[in-house]
């Protein structure tokens, strides 16, 4: 794919202008009528030919971007992946069934019991509306298609569209060659594929398209100074705001870019028009999204954009005054006064706004972006999410491969040919790479920038190399080269005359580049197939004989819930599984992946980390009927609840100081075997995970109760449940569901954790119980 881009670069150059018309004329003369027609259509002018090749390459890239994301559909089935996409799917289903207004006003009583959630006001509707429109359109065209198929294929479809945007962006920033390379690179870049495979029906799927589109349109607006492009960019921004919370990146990057242009003295009327219209219209449009509302004028994260907006007005005003005043000294004085006043007014406005609470301070999420260590200390709920962890260097290599080396080279080329557009792409690249280092999931945001900048490097290098390689043939045509290509190319070409080995060297380097790019293609395909195409709701492992073993336990459990529990049953689980339980199990959950209420999540964390009788009180107060835990001890599935348990303790302890993390650790070590902390061995989560596990032999040659996920023999094999009873355990024990018993019919608190002691006199027995619980 990348290889395909290479011949384009060869033909993009108009160096062979002369030879082609000559070749064109010769067949015309000797051909007959009928072949003449076909040949006439085939033998186009060079420009048209080039356009044809470009379009066909783009089409191929477009198709490629789509089909490379279909691994998961081929390997598993057409289904929704992971956690958040299930919520998106559920809401899309609701939207297509009940219509937009019902969706907009939807109060969901099935999640966050008993608080409920206003769905319409707490989501970014862009994705759902997009999918619903595609669905309605297909229905209108009489394609009887299920909404799930639309949802599954939305992300690949938008990835394809992103390649087109990348092409135009590359063309805008550099040239059409770089555009084509960028399109090809981004089509298969693993950093992007990780969030846009078929079935990964998440906001990011359409948001990256919207992000790149907004940036492209804005750069176009800055380059042309056209109101129409700025308007288009405002609409792109609106779409982005409707689709993903990552729009905050745009609303901060663009002002920063404008600020840099101002400082570097690149202020122009084009910039003024582009930014002002984009900001004002974009802000007004964004306010139409309920979830965003007045944040653009009220929240700290959006204040930078507003500040730059006012700064630009001051700049314009000064420019105008300078134009009127001919006296430089007078202007200097005026400048000083104006700037001081402007800064003072701005600072006072910001201070008063913040102090009065009109402008909300920066949120924890924003802080944790700027400071990688912030979340760990202050917001465990953010730090607990694996995709919010700081990025390991290996995952950069994994997701970018050669782009990691091409990126600095591309930066070099950008600095070489500095323009408004390249400054933008450089800033986009540098900031997003920083954020990608802070959080794993933000690699996604960096991917388009890295692809674009790398594409510039690839395109420019190959262009130069081919020039060198072809220079021998065209020694006489140096003038042409100078006219059409860059200055550097011509200087290389003239150098070439003096150094004959350079041609061979150039060919060798070209081959090397080709090798690298083909390696990139292989790597991307391999990563897509192996790492990013598993739905995570269906687990796959290699069996003892190398065969594929499928664990479909999640769906088994959710369908059990759907078929065997009362429709109004409330299920308590850790919040990771909330969306899936409501979407697939159709049951009410206490907490889910929309982590809007920390206290509620902490309550669940507290229940999970308390003793059974204490947990029972909490569960009764929340009307819990079933408890669901995920357990990997039998299969060796490592992202189960026991491994997440410390986060439950931390989040629970953050709100309820009764829960203390050291109680669950032994010498700072987290363990589940005989040496584990007593509280750990008797907390609800441990009991529910390991109930009846002590009887089970999981591996040959190991004692019963050997936990394969952690590789130890468990410490408490004799687990008795007093207040819960096992309701269902899936075939591989991955999901275990327990029913909360109703209160004891005769004695409300008869069964305690104290074993039944019939030989101890009554009075003493209560004394014992007091000792245990006091």
């Amino acid at each position: 794919m990348v290889g395909k881009a290479e011949p384009v670069n060869g033909s993009v150059k108009s160096g062979s202008n002369q030879s082609i018309p000559a070749a064109m004329q010769s067949p015309l003369k000797k051909s007959d009528l009928i072949p003449n027609l076909s040949l006439k259509t085939l033998k186009l002018k060079t420009k048209q030919q080039e356009l044809l090749i470009r379009v066909s390459i783009l089409c191929l890239v477009y198709v490629l971007a789509f089909i490379t994301r279909l691994f998961s559909v081929l390997r598993y089935e057409s289904m929704i992946h992971e956690f958040d996409p299930y919520f998106n799917y559920r809401t899309t289903l609701f939207l297509t069934e009940k219509g937009f207004y019902e969706f907009w006003n939807w109060f969901d009583s099935e999640s966050w019991y008993p608080l409920g959630r206003i769905i319409g006001g707490t989501l970014y509707p862009g994705l759902m509306v997009t999918a619903a429109i595609i669905y309605w359109l297909l229905r209108f065209l009489r394609f009887a298609i299920h909404i799930r198929e639309v949802c599954v294929l939305t992300a690949p479809f938008f990835a394809s569209n992103t390649t087109l945007v990348a092409y135009f962006f590359g063309k805008e920033v550099w040239d059409s060659g770089a555009g084509l390379v960028a399109a090809a690179l981004i089509a298969i870049c693993p950093g992007y594929i990780s969030r846009s495979v078929a079935g990964s029906y998440d906001n990011e799927g359409v948001a990256i398209f919207a992000l790149l589109l907004t940036f492209y349109l804005f750069v176009k607006a800055v380059n042309t100074g056209s109101l129409a492009w700025a308007l288009a960019s405002a609409f792109g921004y609106f779409y982005m705001v409707s689709a993903w919370g990552g729009y905050v990146f745009i609303i901060n990057l663009i002002p920063l870019y404008v600020l840099v242009l101002l400082i570097t003295g690149r202020y122009s009327m084009r910039l003024y028009v582009a930014y002002n219209s984009m900001y004002v219209l974009g802000m007004l449009l964004a306010m139409q999204i309920r979830f965003v509302g007045f944040q653009h004028v009220q929240s700290g994260e959006h204040m930078a954009a507003m500040g730059v907006f006012f700064l630009l007005q001051v700049f314009f005003f000064l420019d105008w005054v300078k134009h009127l005043l001919s006296d430089t000294k007078l202007f200097q004085a005026f400048l000083r006064i104006t700037v001081t006043t402007a800064i003072a007014v701005g600072a006072i406005a910001l201070g008063v706004g913040t102090a009065s609470g009109y402008i909300s301070p920066w949120t924890g999420r924003f802080y944790s972006l700027l400071d990688p260590t912030y979340a760990k200390d202050h917001i465990p709920i953010i730090a607990s999410v694996s995709e919010h962890q700081p990025t390991a260097w290996s995952s950069f290599m994994f997701d970018f491969h050669i782009l990691l080396f091409l990126f600095p080279a591309g930066l070099y080329f950008c600095f070489k040919r500095l323009s408004d557009a390249t400054i933008f792409i450089v800033m986009y690249g540098l900031t997003s790479i920083y954020f990608a280092g802070v959080m794993v999931r933000l690699i996604l945001v960096a991917t388009p920038a890295v692809c674009l900048i790398s594409a510039i490097a690839v395109s420019a290098t190959i262009k130069n190399l081919t020039l060198v390689a072809r220079a021998k043939n065209k020694v006489t045509q140096t003038g042409f080269v100078r006219g059409s290509s860059s200055l550097k190319g011509s200087s290389k070409a003239s150098l070439d005359q003096s150094q004959p080995f350079q041609r061979n060297g150039a060919i060798a380097l070209l081959l090397g580049a080709f090798y690298l790019l083909s390696k990139y293609a292989t790597h991307c395909t391999w990563v897509t197939s192996e790492a990013y195409s598993s739905p995570s709701i269906v687990l796959a492992a290699r069996g003892a004989h190398g065969n594929r073993v499928i664990f479909d336990d999640y769906r088994e459990a959710y369908f059990w819930l759907r078929k065997n529990t009362p429709p109004d049953a409330k299920v308590m689980s850790w919040w990771d599984y909330g969306y899936q339980i409501t979407a697939m199990g159709n049951r009410t959950v206490i907490v889910d992946n929309n982590t809007w209420n920390n206290t509620h999540i902490a309550t669940v964390g507290r229940a999970m980390s308390s003793y059974e009788n204490e947990a029972y009180e909490i569960m009764r107060s929340l009307d819990v009927d079933y408890v669901l835990v995920v357990f990997g001890g039998v299969t060796g599935y490592s992202s189960d609840d026991i491994n997440k348990f410390l986060w439950m303790v931390r989040i629970g302890g953050g709100v309820f100081p009764v829960i203390k993390e050291p109680d669950y650790l032994v010498n700072g070590e987290y363990r589940v075997d005989k040496g584990a902390a007593p509280k750990m061995l008797n907390c609800l989560m441990y009991k529910l995970s390991y109930y009846r596990f002590g009887e089970l032999t999981t591996e040959y040659g190991k004692p019963p109760g050997y936990d394969r996920a952690r590789g130890v023999e468990i410490g408490n094999k004799d687990i008795k449940l007093e207040y819960l009873e096992e309701a269902f355990t899936t075939s591989n024990w991955i999901v275990r569901i327990y029913k909360v018993k109703p209160p004891n019919n005769r004695c409300p608190y008869a069964g305690n954790d104290v074993p039944y002691l019939p030989w101890v006199p009554t009075v003493l027995r209560y004394h014992f119980q007091a000792m245990f619980h006091g």
């Binding site: 207004y101 907009w104 006003n105 109060f107 009583s109 019991y113 008993p114 608080l115 409920g116 206003i118 109004d568 009410t588 107060s621 929340l622 109703p742 209160p743 004891n744 019919n745 005769r746 004695c747 409300p748 608190y749 008869a750 019939p758 006199p761 009554t762 009075v763 209560y766 119980q769």
Partner: protein, 435 residues
């Protein structure tokens, strides 16, 4: 068609088929009586007669009869169980501790009479019902101040107690004049069990010890902590009566006169018969059984029950409560029935007013909070079946078009917007065409 004759044949039998315990007719009908010795049948005949005269079918069996069983083919054969077998170590047939507890947990009633030398089995059953008999098998309740005066100066184990629970529902509206004779083992109530109640408690001077031996250690049970007769109403409204004395049910105690030590009044007849008969009426659901039906709620001015309310809606809630009189359902009249509008804590708590025909109702405004609420009626009164109704209902916020369209307070802003537009238009016109 051949089904019709069969049906017609069955019709005469319908009353027999329908006499079993049912929500419509909550009094127990068929009662299994397990005895240690069939002689009890005659020595306690007055008590049994009073039950039979009220329409109960008593099935007398020896406790170790190998053929006895509480259920057959998954159906319970009896609605009530009387254990007059304090010394039985194990029951015959399929009855054991678990079977009896299951019997209670599926809503059936139980009367246990223990005695000194009560077997471990009976003690265990009692323990499971929240009552602990004195550990010493030979211990009896002794009271040197409120014993029953008799011809021979005994060991003061025959107690005349008049420390009744004050409840007309449990003991009937007729006042119990004479003390109740008691002779047997004392028990204490499990402090953790909030369902079990003392009906007849010992006087503050009573203690529990072996009357034959000298008291070497302080007795474990003393004073009014000793319960003589206790009741328990389980959460599923199964009712249990536990007595530490079997002999108090006997004809001898029913007929004998009583004079409490230290008092001069000599009663012709002890109150044992009245006390135990009234209590058996309660245990077998002839009294104090409530049912709540027909829970309705709807918006004020509408008739249908909505699937969801909106914040600040006005709603009407009603429920019908009836009391079983032994023969029919009568309206229950009280002024202390309350409804809660509950989400983690009650947001609204209102007394229900009644029309004295069984219907309770109230109207209130939904609070300005959205979420999944419940209408809760938790009605627990001494002696009555506990009513615990909850009905879930979500409350949603306003829809986008349910807010006021034009607010007077916003007129300055409307004015500002439109004047801005007009000003911009004029400015443009002037700027463009006035050169």
């Amino acid at each position: 068609m051949p089904k019709l004759p069969l049906f017609l044949i069955l019709i005469p039998f319908l009353p027999f088929l329908c006499t079993s315990f049912s929500p419509e007719n909550p009094s127990s009908r068929r009662v299994l009586v397990l005895l240690d010795d069939l002689a009890l049948k005659s020595s306690h005949s007055v008590y049994f007669k009073s039950l039979q005269s009220r329409g109960f079918e008593l099935d007398f069996k020896l406790a170790d009869d190998p053929k006895i069983g509480l259920q057959r083919y998954g159906q319970y054969l009896y609605d009530g169980l009387i254990l007059f077998c304090p010394t039985t170590d194990r029951f015959g047939g399929s009855i054991d501790l678990a079977a009896i507890l299951d019997f209670v947990d599926s809503g059936h009633d139980l009367i246990i009479a223990a005695d000194n030398n009560a077997s471990d089995l009976i003690r265990e059953i009692a323990t499971e019902c929240g009552v602990d008999f004195d550990e010493d098998p030979a211990a009896m309740v002794i009271d040197h101040t409120s014993y029953a005066v008799s011809e021979t100066e005994g060991d003061h184990t025959l107690i005349a107690s008049d420390d009744f629970i004050k409840s007309n529902v449990l003991l009937g509206s007729e006042k119990i004049e004479a003390p109740v004779l008691f002779q047997g083992i004392g028990h204490s109530l499990s402090p953790a069990n909030s369902l079990v109640l003392k009906v007849l408690s010992a006087s503050p001077s009573a203690y529990s010890a072996n009357p034959k031996s000298k008291l070497s250690n302080p007795p474990s049970l003393t004073g009014s902590a000793i319960s003589l007769v206790s009741i328990l109403q389980a959460r599923n409204n199964a009712r249990i009566l536990i007595s530490g004395s079997l002999v108090m049910f006997s004809n001898r105690f029913f007929r004998s006169g009583v004079q409490k030590a230290g008092t001069l009044t000599k009663h012709e007849k002890s109150s044992n018969e009245q006390f135990l008969t009234e209590l058996s009426k309660w245990v077998f659901h002839e009294r104090g059984h409530l049912k709540a039906v027909n829970v309705q709620h709807h918006k004020d001015g509408e008739a249908d029950e909505p699937s969801m309310y909106r914040i600040n809606d006005d709603l009407v809630y009603s429920v019908e409560i009836y009391e079983w009189s032994g023969r029919s359902w009568e309206p229950y009249v009280a002024d202390d029935v309350q409804v809660q509008f509950y989400m983690m804590s009650p947001y609204v708590l209102k007394n229900l007013s009644t029309d004295k025909k069984g219907r309770y109702f109230t109207a209130f405004k939904v609070p300005d909070v959205y979420g999944v609420f419940q209408f809760k009626v938790e009605y627990q009164r001494l002696g009555y079946t506990s009513l615990s109704l909850s009905k879930q209902i979500p409350v949603r916020p306003y829809r986008h078009n349910e807010y006021e369209r034009f607010i007077p307070a916003a007129y300055p802003y409307y004015g500002a917007a439109f004047s801005m537009m007009a000003g911009f238009f004029i400015f443009t016109a002037v700027h463009l065409y006035n050169k």
